[in-house]
Symmetry: C2
Subunit: 401 residues, 2 copies
């Protein structure tokens, strides 16, 4: 095997240290996370498309646009979103102070926040925290860092892979947080990936964009996006491979491994989805294009009626086809086949008589595969989502108060 | 006042009779509805944009495309959707038999169905019903007709208005059904309007399209559309006004009244929304265009996080602004003001300190007005929706079984 799964997260790759501490934004849980590359690293980012972008997103975009970065400072408990000019000043101050204590350049610092919207950061706590956390950095600190970015997450999320490049071992590891696709009040989806591969900034950005589109952009918990979402990857070249500057075989293997890391982290987010009782995997087969398949898969997973039907363990294929019909994808209803697990329930747009007992058995599982064949082309797209439960309503009806 | 509200529904206008009976599709409730104009009427329609269109929608579109119709036959309990060739034959048979018993032309019959998806119509019951219902037609039959199109609706939905045109009294009345914007398994949103105004088919269609865009298309219960949605208006000229063929003052008054009828019916649908405990009215002020205002208002009302926050009576303005931010409308977050009732909670994109007690009082009401001022232009758009409650999940998790 060219690559393999290993334990660890953001400190799995050579030349990275991390730490996670409690600085006082939250009552007692860890709320400040730091990742550092011992040498300057190539950096790439993907950001929320929400028009309301939190202050740290604005600052980080500017810093990462140079294609390099060395540190990621991230707090949880406060999103520093909808905080106006003061928010920007606070995000810049986080970068400035991090740069100062690490003795690196300000624009080599990625700043990130997640938590309550519309409140100013308690900068006293944050500043003390940043001064304290630098001393805790270690190659064993990845797990603490992953815990320190959690908000409503029930579990921390980490994964890592190794890959052989020119006989050298390259490692790609990451951590993520996210539980609903959004809480604007407890924002949301963050992922930080570190790798010791040596690669050009252009190809790192290309690899990130490609794999984000096929991972975090193929999951949905409640259909919303956040003001604070970001995915950042740092590549410090510590593995010693010669720099990858073209889309050669090594590049493609790196993309494969980065895809695995991002897909696993994104699936962990769905599994930790607010109130989720089911993990739904929708595959749209034979779509005319990736974008068509994605729209249909996300349309199915985004429908409240589909989601409640799966919560109710109801083989309601009518809701699946109808949710497809309201996307703007061109297809022919009279060609559509639908399968729940290996049970075909719809053929050429019409319902089949099926064994309700067997369907019930499939629907009682926690993991459910839904396959839709639209017979329009040869693209196959898989996306992931959760059901909509009473508990989702409970969690979100009482979040802020 | 140029126009006024009156009691009644589809038989309020001169020259219309209607009836509603039980024919045997449902166990015991009324399930077959008929409306007849005593003379040929001008007709216009608006239909679901879902790619899966039920057989009656396909047949009705063809019949109404001529610009005339005289009768509307509608069953509830079975949607005749995802039923393939047999479904088309059954819908055509409904039209044929209705034409036969009423002694009118087949293509003057509007056919409509609402109910379970993917099952064939029980045509024996339907055929017997169509033969029976013709004898029950009366000018008092509007309410029975409105009851016979209900599915999960808790209440029947009717309204009517009169308008003076050339000193003559013109009446516009209508009935509707709908409880979720969709159940693909219990489809969905139907509205039938009758009027005795004399108007050209082109202007009737124009008036319908305009008012549907500003009524049924501005409501959402769960964001889904159905395979069976249709709005049909018949205008039989019985009031005796000279035919309206241009967009004169009379036309504009007619549009005003038709808008009132459609807006009231659509609001009744939202109020009867599945599990709804709140009636949310969102006004987007100072949008650059109608379409921008609509997208933002529907974006707010379509967000599960906004909906659950209102269910929880939580003044969570962060979710409101974030749901706006994820639409594709161009606006500047730093200009956005948000009001709950008369309480301003956000100014220029930033949260204000507000009286939480007063906010709680506003949020405890059943009817809640949300106003968003984006300061981009001078269009104002109001849309309506419901909260997302535990009961919504319960209803939809256990619908089919």
């Amino acid at each position: 095997m060219k690559f393999q799964h290993i334990s660890g997260g953001v400190t799995a790759a050579k030349g990275f240290t991390a730490a996670g501490i409690h600085c006082g934004i939250k009552k007692s849980k860890k709320d400040l996370s730091l990742i550092l590359s011992e040498v300057p690293a190539v950096a790439a980012g993907a950001y929320t498309k929400n028009r309301f972008q939190a202050a740290p997103v604005i600052v980080t975009k500017e810093h990462v646009s140079s294609g390099s970065a060395r540190a990621i400072i991230c707090n949880s408990g406060n999103a520093n979103a909808c905080t106006g000019e003061q928010g920007i000043l606070d995000a810049k101050r986080m970068a400035e102070l991090t740069a100062e204590v690490l003795n690196i350049k300000i624009d080599d610092v990625v700043v990130s926040s997640t938590g309550v919207i519309g409140e100013y950061l308690p900068m006293d706590a944050v500043e003390t925290g940043i001064r304290d956390i630098a001393a805790k950095l270690s190659t064993q600190g990845g797990h603490d860092a992953a815990e320190a970015i959690m908000t409503t997450d029930l579990v921390s999320k980490e994964t890592a892979y190794t890959l052989e490049v020119e006989g050298k071992t390259v490692t790609v590891g990451g951590m993520a947080k996210g539980s609903g696709m959004i809480h604007p009040n407890m924002a949301t989806m963050l992922a930080f990936i570190t790798t010791d591969i040596c690669i050009s900034p252009e190809l790192l950005q290309k690899a990130l964009t490609y794999t984000v589109e096929r991972s975090y952009n193929l999951i949905t918990v409640d259909g919303d996006t956040s003001t604070n979402d970001m995915v950042i990857v740092l590549a410090n070249g510590a593995s010693g491979n010669s720099i990858i500057t073209e889309e050669n075989e090594d590049y493609h293997w790196f993309v494969t491994v980065l895809q695995k890391v991002n897909t696993e982290l994104s699936q962990m987010i769905v599994r930790d989805g607010e109130g989720a009782t089911k993990f739904l995997e929708v595959t749209v087969k034979n779509a005319a294009s990736f974008i068509d398949g994605k729209s249909l898969a996300m349309g199915i997973l985004g429908s409240n009626l589909v989601k409640t039907a799966f919560f109710g363990e109801d083989a309601n294929w009518g809701r699946i086809v109808s949710s497809m019909g309201q996307t703007d994808v061109e297809f022919f209803p009279e060609r559509v086949d639908v399968f729940l697990g290996d049970l075909q329930v719809t053929q050429n747009g019409q319902g089949l008589r099926f064994d309700e007992e067997y369907a019930k058995k499939i629907l009682q599982e926690k993991d459910i595969k839904i396959t839709v064949d639209i017979k329009m082309g040869d693209e196959s797209v898989t996306a992931w989502g959760a059901d909509l439960s009473h508990n989702y309503v409970t969690i979100n009806a009482s979040y802020r108060s």
